[in-house]
């Protein structure tokens, strides 16, 4: 069951839109904030709360890059692999993450701490390569700074 807090947050967001359906993406993000990802059960419950078919909500959930329909680790690493980061060596950062955490794009560490995903251009191109760990942006990455960043994550 979606707990009271989640339901309250979702209802608050729905007030910004003239139709409940418009708040469905925000609702999925709220579920994720609490549960890391959107399970089949949660999807059905959000659909019921908003009043749209679960199949339609599934169509929305699977369209957007940042809605996770599979379990993810405690920290999601969003590594920008778009062109400015490619030119400045994001491939080395990806290799560095693989070496250190033994995960590549789409994979989660065995201890469930990290999931690595590719990210469309983060709009931080003057400080490429860039990545986000959770909600925190890290920039001007080097294999050395990567070590420090990953060590600093709880």
């Amino acid at each position: 069951m979606l707990n009271d807090q989640v339901q309250k947050e979702i209802r608050g967001e729905l007030e910004h839109y003239p139709t409940p359906r418009a708040g469905c993406i925000e609702a999925l993000k709220i579920v994720q904030n609490h549960e890391r990802w959107v399970s089949d059960t949660a999807l059905q419950e959000v659909a019921d709360l908003i009043g749209i078919p679960a199949a339609e909500l599934e169509g929305v959930a699977t369209f957007y890059n940042l809605i996770y329909r599979q379990p993810v680790g405690k920290h999601v690493i969003l590594l920008c692999d778009s062109v400015s980061c490619w030119l400045t060596g994001c491939g080395k950062i990806r290799a560095g993450i693989k070496q250190r955490l033994n995960i590549d794009f789409g994979q989660t560490t065995a201890d469930d701490r990290f999931t690595l995903l590719p990210m469309a251009c983060l709009g931080n191109c003057d400080h490429a390569p860039s990545m986000m760990v959770g909600e925190v942006l890290h920039q001007d990455l080097t294999p050395e700074s990567l070590d420090q960043i990953l060590e600093g994550v709880d």
Binding site: R21, A22, V83, T88, A120, C125, A128
Partner: protein, 424 residues
């Protein structure tokens, strides 16, 4: 040199709060339009300035606004949507404005909202801009408390509510009709045009979708006039432009400069030239979906007409530099991976064509290409071009491909002949 859009921005400190923003002349444009101008006069002032959309397409802003039904019998509510989904690879200019001066964004929404008679505004913000989200919400709360937003603003009778909508990631959301579908809680696939959003947009109501930088110009045009706006540029096109440089320059960054500042000046004087030991081979002038320009074009002024005459598009005005230590085939492959991944899948040429292009390029890059591949790539550049797809995503993707085949053809050929990438 005047920098109206970034004059309040200092990356070393927090953005101006309401009081400091007002002390710097902020919200004067809101007072002026609400107290002295009719909505039609605001649109006329923007039209006179010849302001063109800064999101990439360069459509005349005042003209766009003039298509919105006005008067008492116009459909309501009307919506103003700010496209802050900045996801064009290599583009980071709107982030500067959103993080650096959020009240300017709020003021711009109110002024533009008044011009079209909007009841509700949405800032459609990409999720990754967490700091911008936080700062916009703080600015909106301050503006609400001060009576610049909400019901009966400054006793003018005009009411306007403003919300921030954070997206869940997808490049196609930058396409204005796909953005509207996303705001309605649907898959972000583009809509057929016509009807244009100005007539039937969000929930079928009159809607304007406008880029961050475009909107931020509006309060300054209202305060200082069209003649001033045209006078601060170095080109027939008025105003300033936020230009950016990324890639392996010494000092990549974003600077507000007069419209029409030449490419070479931006790279050499502001970005500090290339990093030691690297040579500039070419560049994409305004994001990943613009055609390459090369040495012979570097003295071209960065404005819509001049860059178009050179065979590309100014796009977002944030250029991406290709140096001689990076492989042009690899660079184009990277962009085609991006476009193939981000295609919404709605129309067949884009959904099927982009992955095919990506696979051909991957084969060439891996040393498995054949002589016919270059013709196949050229055929795709034509077949996925304007008029053959539902929206501009695939035609945009074909711009760097077709121009790389023209300017870096010997690199493609050497991959095929020698069966390896010379840079790997």
């Amino acid at each position: 040199m005047e920098r109206p859009l970034t004059k309040n921005i200092d990356a070393g400190r927090e953005p101006l709060g309401l009081k400091d923003y007002e002390a710097a002349g902020g919200y004067q444009a809101v007072r002026k339009v609400l107290q002295e101008m009719t909505p039609e006069e605001v649109t006329a002032a923007v039209k006179k300035s010849d302001l063109r959309g800064r999101g990439g397409a360069g459509f005349p802003t005042g003209l766009k606004w003039s298509f919105v039904p006005m008067g008492d019998d116009a459909p309501r509510p009307k919506y103003l949507v700010c496209n802050a989904d900045e996801m064009e690879p290599g583009t980071f200019k709107d982030r500067v404005l959103l993080e650096g001066d959020p009240h300017q964004m709020v003021e711009a929404m109110i002024v533009a909202g008044y011009a079209m008679g909007a009841d509700v505004g949405y800032i459609f913000l990409r999720w990754a801009y967490r700091l911008a989200n936080q700062r916009l919400l703080a600015a909106i709360a301050e503006a609400n408390a001060a009576g610049y937003l909400g019901d009966n603003i400054l006793d003018s009778g005009y009411s306007f509510k403003l919300h921030v909508h954070t997206s869940a990631g997808r490049y196609i959301c930058g396409e204005e009709t796909a953005l509207l579908n996303s705001l309605e809680g649907k898959r972000a696939i583009p809509r057929a045009k016509p009807p244009f959003p100005q007539i039937s947009g969000l929930w079928g109501k009159p809607t304007i979708v406008q880029n961050v930088e475009t909107l931020c110009n509006v309060p300054h045009i209202i305060n200082r006039g069209a003649d001033w706006f045209k006078s601060i540029s170095r080109s027939a096109e008025g105003g300033t432009k936020l230009y950016g440089v990324s890639g392996r320059a010494k000092n990549p960054g974003c600077w507000e400069l007069p419209m029409g500042t030449p490419i070479r000046e931006i790279i050499d004087e502001y970005a500090g030239g290339m990093q030691d030991g690297l040579k500039l081979r070419g560049l994409l002038p305004g994001g990943a979906s613009t055609d390459f320009l090369v040495e012979e074009h570097f003295d071209t002024p960065m404005d819509y007409a001049s860059i178009a005459a050179a065979g590309s598009r100014m796009g977002t005005g944030t250029m991406i530099l290709l140096d001689d230590g990076n492989c042009p085939v690899g660079m184009v492959l990277n962009m085609m991976e991006f476009f193939a991944r981000e295609s919404c899948g709605w129309c067949t040429p884009c959904r099927e064509g982009l992955p095919w292009v990506e696979k051909i390029l991957q084969a060439i890059e891996d040393g498995n290409g054949c002589a016919e591949d270059l013709d196949r790539l050229s055929a795709h550049a034509r077949d996925l071009g304007h008029g053959n797809t539902f929206c501009a995503l695939a035609p945009g993707a074909m711009e760097p491909l077709q121009s790389s085949l023209k300017y870096f053809r010997e690199d493609f050929q050497s991959h095929i002949t020698n069966k390896r990438c010379p840079w790997s």
